[in-house]
């Protein structure tokens, strides 16, 4: 379980997150949406300790991130993350990208790690690209390798930071299909995305952020049938154009 209590973060003078309270139960899929600059990505980065926060608390499975004794590296093994720009390692093949962390962090043998990596590449639908370098893959294929790379550490949680917004339209579906399958298998997921079709299919809760605050939260039905705030109505009309 991820508990976020009264979280506040500043970049110098800029108050990027204000009084965030949220709980994500195991097996839930949460979708975070909102205009750019609203603090969505920063919120994700506070949950796995890539960004420090100044006030409040983030607790993952009972472990507080602000406790100096917390080993952030160890904690991150349980929280996979997928980035907007894929961020694959350009000097490694797809298979090496996926098997690196299991070999170096979990200390699996190369053979064992590569066998598991192959299984994951099959799961995301591109086993034939195992020996390809990222530069020779399409955006959609790169993002699926990135998902496999995260899954290779067998995380309890998966975070997605706008995973489809750098993709051409025809590639969005192949990535969303993988994410939907993952959610249906019971993975706990936090997804920053504006893909409302995805939200409709799998989101247990959607939160809408603006200016570093959670403005509104609810199920997909609640969001679309009776949005409460004007900001959300305006936002929804923009992204549904």
């Amino acid at each position: 379980m991820i508990e976020i209590k009264n979280l506040n973060k500043w970049f110098d003078d800029f108050h990027v997150l204000t009084d965030i309270n949220e709980t994500v139960e195991r097996g839930q899929t949460m979708v975070i949406c909102g205009p750019s600059g609203s603090g969505k990505s920063t919120l994700l980065r506070c949950i796995n300790g890539l960004e420090p926060y100044q006030k409040g608390e983030v607790i993952v499975d009972g472990v507080s991130l602000n406790n100096p004794k917390t080993n952030l590296y160890k904690l991150r093994e349980n929280i996979g993350m997928v980035f907007q720009r894929f961020e694959l390692y350009p000097h490694m093949t797809a298979l090496q990208n996926v098997s690196l962390a299991p070999i170096k962090v979990r200390k699996l043998s190369k053979k064992e790690a590569e066998e598991k990596a192959m299984v994951l590449l099959e799961r995301v639908g591109i086993p034939e690209k195992a020996k390809s370098y990222p530069a020779n893959l399409s955006g959609g294929q790169q993002q699926r390798v990135a998902i496999a790379r995260s899954l290779a550490m067998e995380p309890k949680y998966m975070m997605f930071d706008e995973p489809t917004s750098a993709l051409d339209p025809e590639m969005i579906k192949e990535v969303l299909d993988v994410m939907i399958a993952l959610a249906k298998e019971g993975m706990t997921m936090l997804c920053v995305t504006h893909e409302m079709g995805f939200a409709r299919e799998v989101a247990d809760e959607i939160i809408f952020m603006d200016f570093g605050k959670i403005i509104e939260r609810g199920t997909y039905q609640e969001f679309f049938t009776k949005p409460k705030s004007d900001r959300l109505k305006e936002f929804l009309s923009q992204i549904l154009e």
């Binding site: 991150r76 993350m81 980035f83 961020e87 962090v105």
Partner: protein
């Protein structure tokens, strides 16, 4: 037609060896110091960043020959004894080339996206593992062509040590020319030798550039 060259070949090749030795010291020392300069240039600490940035900008905006003169003629005034041409030239080249190598390291490091590092961290990799398996290899791959090119430039620059009497390749050719009066032949020979070595070097640089070009478009 190359008889004057052939008669003095051992003497000339001995000079080429001095040139190679100087270049080897200059490149390895320049790269070593350059790594430190590059790190200082991306440092958040102002007391590291500003002095090193001043050093880099200063040396990059004066002719190398001045640095050679300072080290050879001016430094002895401060340390109280003269320095031989060879160590003097080595010092000059290292402090000069380190500014160029340093900028290559800085630029190489800055091509690494912050989120690629975050991606590595988010799989549980530590800072040291991320440096060893991701950032350093990727940055090195991207810098390699520039490092080779700068090494070739350094190799060519070594002939400036001529001015403090170091008997390197060009100086020895000049000594032979004083005796034989065969300027076209002797300096032609020196030019051809430099041309062959530097051309091979630039082809190697080009090879790596092509090899990694595709990998690095993103």
């Amino acid at each position: 037609m190359f008889d004057a060259t052939l008669r003095n070949l051992p003497f000339l090749l001995g000079g080429l060896l001095v040139t190679f030795k100087l270049a080897a010291f200059a490149v390895s020392g320049g790269i070593f110091l350059g790594i430190l300069v590059g790190l200082a240039r991306i440092s958040q600490k102002k007391w590291i960043y500003y002095p090193i940035t001043f050093y880099v900008n200063f040396l990059r905006n004066i002719p190398l020959i001045l640095v050679i003169f300072w080290v050879y003629f001016v430094m002895p005034l401060f340390i109280g004894r003269s320095i031989d041409p060879f160590p003097s030239a080595v010092i000059s080249f290292i402090i000069f080339e380190a500014t160029y190598f340093g900028e290559i390291f800085r630029a190489g490091y800055q091509t690494i996206s912050k989120d690629m590092v975050n991606a590595s961290y988010s799989t549980g990799m530590t800072y040291a593992q991320t440096a060893r398996y991701i950032t350093v290899p990727v940055a090195f791959q991207r810098m390699l062509p520039s490092l080779i090119t700068q090494s070739i430039v350094t190799f060519q620059d070594t002939s400036l040590a001529f001015v403090i009497g170091l008997p390197e390749f060009v100086r020895r050719a000049s000594i032979v020319d004083n005796m034989e009066i065969r300027s076209i032949e002797l300096f032609g020979f020196v030019a051809i030798v430099f041309l062959i070595i530097c051309y091979i070097g630039s082809r190697i640089s080009r090879h790596y550039e092509e090899k990694y070009r595709k990998v690095n478009v993103q």
